[in-house]
């Protein structure tokens, strides 16, 4: 039975074991069987680790393409395929199609094509990406660009319910993958560049009714906090913790959007996610810490009530959104086993927190180029900002030069992976710096609210080491905060990583290579050029006794935009820099799922 689980059998077995409608138990069971890839992170902890080891560091060099599938959609393909039993589900960027594919013969069971108003396209900053699906209780959940959260019957693709999560006319859209937790589905909101006030919301998976909604900023009642019990750096946050850190009503259009990934710890019953940049990009007009933008949040899954917050970049001056994934792993820190949360922030620091209490354990730079802060003060948790790189201290209409990292961060949304076998985290990174000049803009609802000009260029221009590469793929020790190995990538590494029990780590590149490297040494063991640049996540599953690896290619997103501007002598003959501007010389648009396996049987 194990080997040839049908979708129905897989689901029925888990449903029986868990009694009625405990979707949490059901999804947990599904994720515990490595034949499935049942949630974006492979498991609730977001480790993106698979126990499968048929493909390993000895034989991965023999990998071959088993089958491919075109989504028929151009634009950037983020996220990755979801596999449950004998069915693979895959999504696309706008218009957010969903395909159910029968793994037996790769035929299509059903296609869902939503009708969405194309007017939401221009409201989506940085391409019309979508980061994937969730499954529970016989339903597939899709968070559409137009903010409609829909539940589809997993067997037929018919819409069971749909709920509107926000208003695109006010700049709200969605790109995130939702997460099923118990009998609810948790989602966020995008629109930080449009003055949207971020929130996390949980809807009941039965009928889509709202269970709770908690804002990133504003009055205590809006934020689901208890001023005496919710803590930050071990202290109660106190009354009006957010309002006090904004001028007047600015929090109403304050950003702190929630477009990243959600993780969940079933033992603690806490969900974890991060909030984005405060609006506008001009820090001068919004004095104060702008809480709780740029914050890691731990909330009770049933009520949304906040247990703890940690603000990584108080009063952001560089657009370092705090939305990257939260990886929950029990690791050694300073000689003792900790229930940790590990987070690689856009701001260039890799944070290790105690996920029970929110205690800050480690905060170190995971790209040596990072220069906007010297370090994080472990007592206060505050980054020590370098005056020269402070766009606020330099002021409006002043060009702050050579800030590292650039606005897209040392890492963007592309999720890292954790292998319990090596104890290491595998992180796809950007190695890009910027010039940033804030200026005054007027706010108009539904209109971009940016307020800074920027130019980006390879970090080598700032470090002076002569390098021109724009990304690295690194192995990180989160217990000590040290890079263990680092592979240079000519372009930003913008694809979600996968680690497996076969001691291989896989990721994609912007030119379109799927790469496999040795988990211990980083040595490249295999590469294959897929039809387009990869900004999707590499996932794995087993079907009929065979391990498969699947990844979406389809270049786009912010990764796809020309960003080598601002160089002295910004011309063609600039080697890798010139090449970066012409990523189109390496790859063209088009969404394709490529599935790999070892030859034979």
């Amino acid at each position: 039975m194990k080997r040839s689980l049908t979708f129905v059998a897989a689901v029925a077995a888990t449903a029986m074991a868990s009694g009625i409608a405990n979707a949490n138990q059901e999804v947990m069971k599904l994720t515990q069987n490595p034949a499935n890839w049942a949630t974006w992170g492979g498991d609730y902890a977001g480790t993106r680790y698979s126990k499968l080891d048929q493909i390993n560091n000895k034989n991965v060099g023999d990998l071959q393409v088993a089958w491919t599938f075109s989504t028929g959609v151009l634009r950037g393909h983020e996220g990755g395929p979801m596999v449950i039993g004998d069915t693979l589900f895959v999504h696309t960027p706008f218009p957010n199609k969903v395909f159910s594919i029968n793994l037996a013969d790769q035929s299509i069971n059903w296609i869902y094509t939503p009708k969405q108003d194309p007017d939401v396209i221009p409201v989506m900053c940085c391409d019309t990406v979508n980061r994937g699906l969730a499954y529970a209780d016989g339903k597939i959940f899709l968070q559409q660009a137009d903010t409609n959260l829909v539940a589809l019957d997993a067997k037929t693709g018919k819409k069971v319910w749909s709920v509107t999560n926000g208003d695109p006319k006010k700049g709200m859209t969605n790109t995130n993958a939702p997460l099923v937790v118990k009998d609810k589905i948790v989602t966020g909101i995008s629109g930080g560049e449009f003055g949207v006030r971020g929130f996390a919301a949980a809807y009941n998976i039965k009928d889509g009714s709202l269970a709770w909604k908690c804002y990133s900023m504003g009055p205590d009642s809006d934020m689901c906090v208890d001023p005496m019990k919710t803590t930050a750096m071990g202290q109660p946050i106190g009354k009006d913790s957010s309002l006090k850190t904004w001028k007047g009503d600015q929090w109403k259009i304050g950003g702190g959007t929630t477009w990243g990934w959600f993780s969940y710890d079933p033992d603690l019953n806490l969900i974890y996610y991060g909030t984005g940049n405060p609006s506008t990009w001009n820090p001068v007009v919004r004095p104060g810490d702008n809480k709780w933008s740029m914050t890691i949040m731990a909330r009770d899954a049933d009520t949304g009530m906040a247990k703890w917050f940690y603000q990584m970049t108080p009063h952001d001056e560089w657009d370092y959104d705090g939305i990257n994934e939260m990886i929950l792993a029990d690791i050694d820190v300073g000689g003792s086993k900790r229930k940790a949360l590990v987070h690689f922030d856009r701001n260039g620091f890799g944070y290790t927190m105690d996920r029970v209490t929110g205690e800050l354990l480690v905060a170190e730079k995971y790209d040596p180029a990072v220069n906007w802060a010297t370090h994080v003060d472990m007592k206060t948790g505050r980054p020590q900002v370098v005056a020269k790189y402070s766009t606020d201290q330099n002021g409006e209409d002043v060009n702050t030069q050579n800030v590292c990292p650039a606005a897209l961060g040392s890492k963007d949304q592309q999720p890292a992976a954790f292998s319990p076998r090596t104890g290491l985290f595998y992180v796809p990174t950007n190695h890009v710096c910027m010039d940033y000049e804030p200026f005054r803009v007027e706010y108009v609802a539904g209109q971009p609210y940016v307020g800074a000009t920027l130019s980006m260029f390879p970090a080598g221009k700032v470090t002076g080491d002569g390098s021109t590469h724009l990304g690295n793929f690194i192995a990180w020790d989160a217990g000590t905060g040290k890079i263990v190995w680092s592979n240079a990538e000519p372009f930003s590494a913008w694809s979600g990583a996968l680690a497996t029990a076969g001691d291989v780590v896989l990721y994609g590149t912007l030119e379109g290579y799927l790469k496999a490297v040795d988990a211990k040494t980083g040595k490249e063991l295999y590469k294959f050029k897929t039809p387009s640049g990869i900004i999707g996540n590499v996932n794995t599953w087993e079907y009929n006794g065979k391990q498969y690896i699947g990844v979406l290619s389809g270049v786009g997103g912010w990764a796809g935009i020309g960003m080598a501007a601002g160089l002295e002598g910004d011309t063609e003959g600039l080697g890798a820099v010139g090449a970066y501007r012409a990523l189109s010389k390496y790859t063209q648009l088009g969404g394709v799922l490529t599935v790999f396996a070892l030859p034979g049987k």
Partner: protein, 141 residues
């Protein structure tokens, strides 16, 4: 030291290209005339044209930080070689849906509308090769 030398070399190449393109400015009046000053082939701009660059920050997320386009919106450096000012005004004010995607209209956005002439002048200067991508120096302060 070695790196410095490389950057210096690159800078010289860059200036050479600027110099090479300079004659293009000779034929006919340009929307950026009087707002660019080039000394020893190093061009600086005034506040008026800087406002055009700032307005361009609204376009960067789609048309690229350097205006050279992205995977989902065309290069404005190339486009402005083909379209005239009235077409530019028309699409920026009202937007349109084309083969590649949706170009939003900006008629409700004061950050663009107040500076649309400067924005056009800035992009035209980029398109003519008079100005490099990225931040520019000011001559009027």
């Amino acid at each position: 030291m070695k790196t410095r030398a490389i950057w210096l070399a690159l800078t010289i190449i860059g200036l050479g290209v600027l110099f090479g393109l300079a004659p293009a400015r000779a034929n006919g009046p340009k929307p950026y005339d009087g707002h660019v000053q080039c000394e020893a082939n190093n061009c600086k701009i005034d506040l008026w044209l800087t406002r055009g660059f700032r307005a361009f920050s609204q376009c960067q997320v789609c048309h690229g930080l350097d205006a050279n386009g992205s995977s989902f919106a065309p290069s404005l450096v190339d486009t402005l070689k083909e379209i005239d000012q009235s077409r530019f005004m028309e699409v920026v004010v009202n937007g349109y849906k084309g083969q590649m995607g949706v170009m939003p209209g900006w008629n409700e956005n004061p950050n663009v509308m107040k500076h649309i002439d400067k924005l056009y002048a800035y992009l035209k200067a980029r398109s003519d090769g008079v100005l490099p991508a990225g931040k520019l120096q000011r001559y009027d302060r």
